[in-house]
Amino acid sequence: MKSCKQFEEVIFDHVDNLVSGEKRKELDQHLGQCPPCQEMFKNAKEVSIRLHNLNRIKTSSDFETVLRTRITMERSLNRGVFINWPMRLPTYAISGVLVILIAFFVASVMKGELLFTNSKKSPGLPSLISNQPIGNNSVIQNSSPAAEAIHFPMDWKTIRGTAINSTEYERNARARLDSAHTSIPKETIVPVEF
């Protein structure tokens, strides 16, 4: 005859309804004669039922929304940091071109500023005008207000952008010069010695 210790495992299987046939008959017989084993079976079964009957809780209503947000955040983060290698080359190329363009733009703006600053000190326009035949190899003295008007007929920026190589401007400048010539007092025109 089997001892209680030998029945222990079968008793626990019986709690899970895993015993059948001859084994079950043998167990029932033993339980009928052994109050301690009967008590052990009863206790284990009772706990199993209690746990099985525990209320089922549910996730909070925003569970899926929170999860989706976390996944979206993670995806966007990964997209930013870990771009696939085939995607990197065009990205780097475009970035490189952009950097070069920006650098070129900045340099040209700075150069323009520099040119503008220098041109005020040694204006190119008077030299342009002075290269023109103005008769009798003479230049106009800066002391006269009329002469100043000829030397700096308009803002440098305007000249630089449109008029410096324009024949039309040269024609206008010459016309202005001629009209100025006539209105300038004789004493302000001095012969130039070469």
């Binding site: 626990f12 706990v47 746990l51 525990l54």
Partner: protein, 198 residues
């Protein structure tokens, strides 16, 4: 007589869903979340004893499924895989909690010995309603060591097979059975006073 559960042909299996998800079908992932969120919550809540923490763990579990979807191979059941992830995260959380409580003298939770539930507020004579019973049972579960607690919850709350539990926690079936039975008897010892009211 119990009615056998009819398998719904139109309902895709977990394994089909994860395969669809592996191919980029995000709707399949949504279905997995809907299917598992509550059952995993019940497992983890009974295991760690705090609903908020349990939800965080479940969130993290799904995030890991999302990230590591390619790691799943059809050789194992999907439920085993997801329960393993959730169980590992819960165990990590319990270890972290244990470290935090290291200096607390009253922490009795992790020793492998029998416990008596606190008598404060409870006595066989006292009328215990359903809610209180739930609380008492939950407290008794929490007083078990994690290795008993986990198998008890997986077996008696989640009703998983011994074979599946064995795969989830990666111990032999015999060990699982033994832990479940010892765990049940320890729980029953703590819940004696509830029996009196039955």
């Amino acid at each position: 007589m119990t009615t056998p559960i009819k398998s719904n042909e139109s309902q895709p299996s977990d394994e089909d869903l994860i395969e669809r998800f592996q191919r980029g079908d995000l709707y399949a992932f949504d279905l997995i979340v809907k299917r598992y969120k509550d059952q995993l919550l019940n497992f983890i809540y009974r295991f760690v004893g705090n609903q908020e923490e349990a939800e965080d763990i479940i969130q993290e579990t799904f995030l890991r499924v999302y990230r590591k979807r390619k790691a799943y191979k059809r050789i194992a059941k999907f439920s085993t895989w997801i329960y393993t992830i959730a169980g590992n995260l819960a165990r990590t959380e319990l270890r972290r909690r244990k470290r935090r409580k290291l200096f607390s003298v009253t922490d009795l939770g992790y020793e492998d010995r029998d416990y008596e539930i606190s008598d404060e507020g409870h006595s066989p004579e006292r009328e215990v309603d359903g809610v209180m019973q739930e609380e008492i049972i939950q407290k008794a579960i929490e007083k078990l060591s994690p290795k008993f607690r986990e198998v008890i919850v997986l077996r008696d709350v989640q009703e998983l097979s011994y074979e599946e539990i064995s795969k989830i926690i990666n111990v032999p079936i015999g060990t699982v059975k033994s832990r479940v039975n010892r765990g049940r008897l320890r729980l029953q010892a703590q819940l004696k006073h509830l029996r009196a009211k039955k």
